[in-house]
């Protein structure tokens, strides 16, 4: 097809992908790459490059203002960025050693895991002792509630940091935000309040993605003709999706989407195993 046709089709598809990613909270990255590789036949390297760029845009440009105000724990975020960005760097280098087939297979598996991770029933985490290290680093804080600021503690910093490094590796390897795993680490392991975990994760995603973006750029994964359409579609799409998210009754949508994600994940695994890419 012509560049114009490709651009228009990809732009519209990326708009939908960005919208769905924001609406379901899974992020645009996990939707974009399968869309580009399975539907548009784009090589997975170009797909993860475009997806990573889109993620940086959506996480930096999102109207994070009023929702996250007072919830984001920047200290925790910055501290965890040290292992996370190192992981992302490692993941990006690893990506250039795995072939397209392996990337697709790993992507499919991680996609399904991310869906499971983000669909866990929100059960309250058993209270436990705060990590003395977190006190020394002044990590505990408060979050706003209608009744006033509610204090919280921070637990198991080293374990949380370790899991975050893993999330970083996934982010750099697959060009995704890995938000589902970051939230998991902060919510379940470090016992941060859920809204603090989600907002802090959103804060971190762009920085983590930037750590691998430089490697992607120098390897040539960031192809201008592909990225231009993806970026110009996914960013408005995700801004729209974030707006709708506030109002939509999205439980049934999430169920439908979860099924679709599993199917897509299986497709990616098949594609990878059968040597496509």
């Amino acid at each position: 097809m012509t560049l114009l046709q490709f651009t228009l089709l990809t732009l519209v598809a990326s708009l939908a992908a960005g919208f769905l990613g924001a609406l379901t909270g899974l992020g645009g990255g996990v939707v974009l790459t399968p869309l580009l590789t399975l539907v548009f036949g784009v090589d997975i390297h170009y797909a993860i490059g475009a997806s990573l760029v889109a993620i940086i845009a959506t996480s930096s440009g999102a109207a994070s203002g009023f929702v996250s105000q007072g919830f984001t724990n920047i200290r925790v975020g910055m501290l965890l960025e040290v292992p996370t960005t190192l992981g992302a760097l490692g993941g990006a280098f690893l990506a250039s050693y795995l072939g397209a087939g392996w990337l697709a297979t790993v992507f499919g598996v991680v996609l399904i895991l991310a869906m499971l991770a983000s669909n866990r029933p929100v059960r309250p985490v058993a209270p436990g002792p705060p990590d003395p290290l977190s006190i020394r680093l002044k990590l505990p804080s408060t979050y706003p509630t209608p009744a006033g600021p509610e204090p919280y503690q921070v637990a198991r910093v080293p374990l949380g940091a370790g899991v975050m490094m893993g999330a970083g590796v996934l982010s750099g390897l697959l060009g995704i935000g890995a938000g589902a795993f970051k939230v998991l680490a902060m919510d379940q392991i470090m016992r941060l309040p859920f809204k603090v975990s989600t907002t802090t994760s959103n804060f971190m995603i762009g920085v983590t993605a930037a750590a691998s973006a430089g490697v992607y750029l120098s390897r040539g994964y960031i192809e201008p003709a592909v990225v231009m359409a993806v970026l110009l579609g996914a960013l408005p799409g995700s801004l729209l999706g974030a707006r709708v998210l506030v109002r939509a009754a999205n439980r049934r949508l999430r169920l439908v989407f979860s099924v679709v994600i599993v199917l897509v994940g299986v497709q990616m695994i098949i594609k990878g195993v059968t040597g496509g890419g």
Binding site: L3, T7, M78, V207, P224, M228
Partner: protein, 123 residues
């Protein structure tokens, strides 16, 4: 205090959104130029091969972008976008340094080092 004061988050947010807007504008400009010149050409992205160096090296990208070479303009916009989280980290580092929180200023500087390494190391 664990959470940053609201004003820090506000300032970071405003700067980031401005940079993203600038990046998107440049990419859009490059996209229009690209389509005008090459829109009717057949393209295929099904096989991966690294592109020319001017589109993969930051310094070369900036140089090529000023000649209004469309893919270079697009990459230049992407570079601005990639610098957005860098700006966020720098702002955080400065804020921690100013409030004499040297441990966290150092941590943030370490993150900055990783980001810059990713962008500029050639191997």
């Amino acid at each position: 205090m664990g959470s940053a004061p609201a004003t820090l988050e506000e300032r970071i947010g405003r700067l980031l959104r401005a940079m993203v807007a600038a990046a998107v504008a440049v990419v859009a400009l490059g996209a229009v130029l690209y389509l005008i010149r090459h829109g009717a050409e057949t393209v295929s992205f099904s096989t991966f091969a690294p592109g020319p160096l001017e589109l993969r090296d930051p310094i070369r990208i900036v140089a090529a972008a000023f000649t209004l070479d469309p893919p270079a303009v697009i990459q230049f916009g992407i570079l601005i976008l990639l610098l957005t989280p860098v700006a966020r980290v720098i702002l955080c580092a400065v804020t921690y340094a100013r409030s004499r929180d040297l441990a966290f200023a150092g941590l943030t500087a370490a993150v900055l080092a990783v980001l810059l390494f990713s962008l500029f190391w050639r191997g």
